[in-house]
Amino acid sequence: MSEPIAMADQDSIIDVNDVSMIFNIASEQFNSLKEYFIALMRHELRFKEFRALDHIDFHVRRGEAFGLVGTNGSGKSTMLKVIAGVLKASEGCCQVRGTIAPLIELGAGFDMELTAKENIYLNGSLLGYRKDFIDAHFQEIVDFAELQDFMDMPLKNYSSGMVARIAFAIATITEPDILIVDETLSVGDFLFQQKCERRIKELVDSNNVTVLLVSHSIDLVERMCDRVCWIEKGKQRMLGPTAEVCAAYKRLGA
């Protein structure tokens, strides 16, 4: 137990302290007032507990590339939501020091009817960027996404890969303290994925940016990450250097 505490003192940027996430799954879903009150009157509001995360505990250091792996429905996304601050842990606590830049996917911070240019400003504002900053770095974003000729086209004419390019370009134009990279990236073509990997490497090497990578592509995790946490059915199965954890994780399929 002494090791994590020592790490928490040392420049750690994400502290996940014994986090559990419990969802109350109503035995019935109440979507109408009438149903709800009838159940309330009859004292029939019963809930079933579901532990999406069960005592997860890890610490990520500044400038580290940290991977989260696990099979579908094992709680990776829930973990990300807790780290991003949109979901509050039911037990334990999660502390994050610094700015977070997630890759915003299609349908979230983008509007299909707006042009790519308008979307860059919209998206930037949602990430908390300053307007003058976006003005100054607009060309850089466009260049990185390689979509110069399509800037005034509504996003609905874009392919999902093109949108992912913009999302990545916006999120990495700054030096966020934490960059969250998830499956959004996987829709890009291989050339762009390589470019993204190089950019992520650059950010990691600068030692200022912490990258949190969630992917089903175990190769990508192996190439990028320093350490990996394997979450399985909400439980922390393994935490350690990439090679060890990935090897163990891969044995799952063997």
């Binding site: 969802f23 915003i104 349908g107 979230a108 900053f133 100054a136 770095h137």
Partner: protein
């Protein structure tokens, strides 16, 4: 050259807003988005914001003016009476109907990025406010055509609008929070809005109402706002102190109830959207 020096000034490290200015920039972006989307691909574009209240007023005037006019001569110019009431009511009904579903609509975003959630209902109210600004052009046109003069009392108009907007923000916050947990609020609210339209003296004078109902109108916030606006714009009177207090009180009570209920439950939104 200029761009380069600016780029040097704003390094990648301090790209972020701190505190409230972030929310303002998001609101600005979202309201601009709403505005652009509303008129994209329409030939007349923004002109519709002016034409809409005008057409509405013309239809109502054509139907009701002949028999309303004899009911109560103190109504003054009927066309102006109509458009002032309708546009103010529209501001509230647009704000609340749009604001109500705003949290649910923003679900994909709220699941991913930490954003102050109140932004979305407020966005819809501000957008309705922008639309009201355009209908002021329509009101001005009607007043010009009907030769209704505008007095210095109209300076109190913005005050009434501000209170009406605060009142709408409170309602939108409350409704958006409620609708997250109970979707049938959305269906219920359209009934409430319809009933409210008829219970507010928009196209009739308050004097046609039976005695008991007239007494109740003082408790109808929309009656308060509509009457206030008509007094300062159409009748060129300074409303009574009681009216001022009512305007402020309705706004504050709504804002307080809206804020408290929203704030108390907002951390649970994510589990239901």
């Amino acid at each position: 050259m200029d761009a380069v020096s600016r780029e040097a000034q704003i390094s990648a490290k301090d790209a972020w807003y701190s505190g409230r200015s972030k929310d303002w920039f998001i609101l600005e972006q979202l309201v601009t988005k709403d505005f652009k989307l509303k008129y994209r691909r329409s030939v007349l574009g923004v002109a519709w914001s002016v034409l809409n209240p005008l057409f509405m007023m013309l239809v109502l005037a054509a139907v009701f003016s002949s028999f309303m006019r004899y009911q109560d001569p103190s109504m003054g110019n009927y066309a102006v009476y109509l458009i002032l009431g309708n546009t103010a009511f529209q501001l509230m009904s647009d704000s609340t109907t749009q604001g109500m579903s705003s949290i649910i609509a923003a679900a994909p975003l709220l699941k991913k990025v930490k954003i102050n959630r109140y932004i979305f209902p407020v966005q819809k109210v501000l957008f309705a406010g922008v639309n009201y600004a355009f209908s002021i052009v329509a009101i001005a046109l009607v007043m010009l055509v009907e030769r209704v003069p505008l007095g210095p009392t109209a300076l109190l108009w913005p005050f009434a609008l501000l209170m009406l907007i605060l009142f709408s923000i409170g309602l939108a916050l409350l409704l958006s929070a409620l609708s997250v947990f109970f979707r049938d609020v959305m269906h219920l609210w359209s009934v409430v809005i319809t009933a409210w339209t008829y219970l507010t003296p928009l196209f009739y004078p308050v004097s046609v109402l039976p005695e008991w109902l007239r007494g109740l109108e003082m408790f109808n916030p929309m009656y308060v706002y509509v009457t206030y606006i008509r007094e300062v714009v159409l009748y060129q009177q300074v409303p009574s102190l009681k009216m001022h207090i009512a305007c402020v009180a309705c706004a504050l009570v709504s804002l307080l109830v809206g804020y408290l209920s929203f704030h108390r439950h907002e951390h649970k939104f994510i589990l239901y959207i």
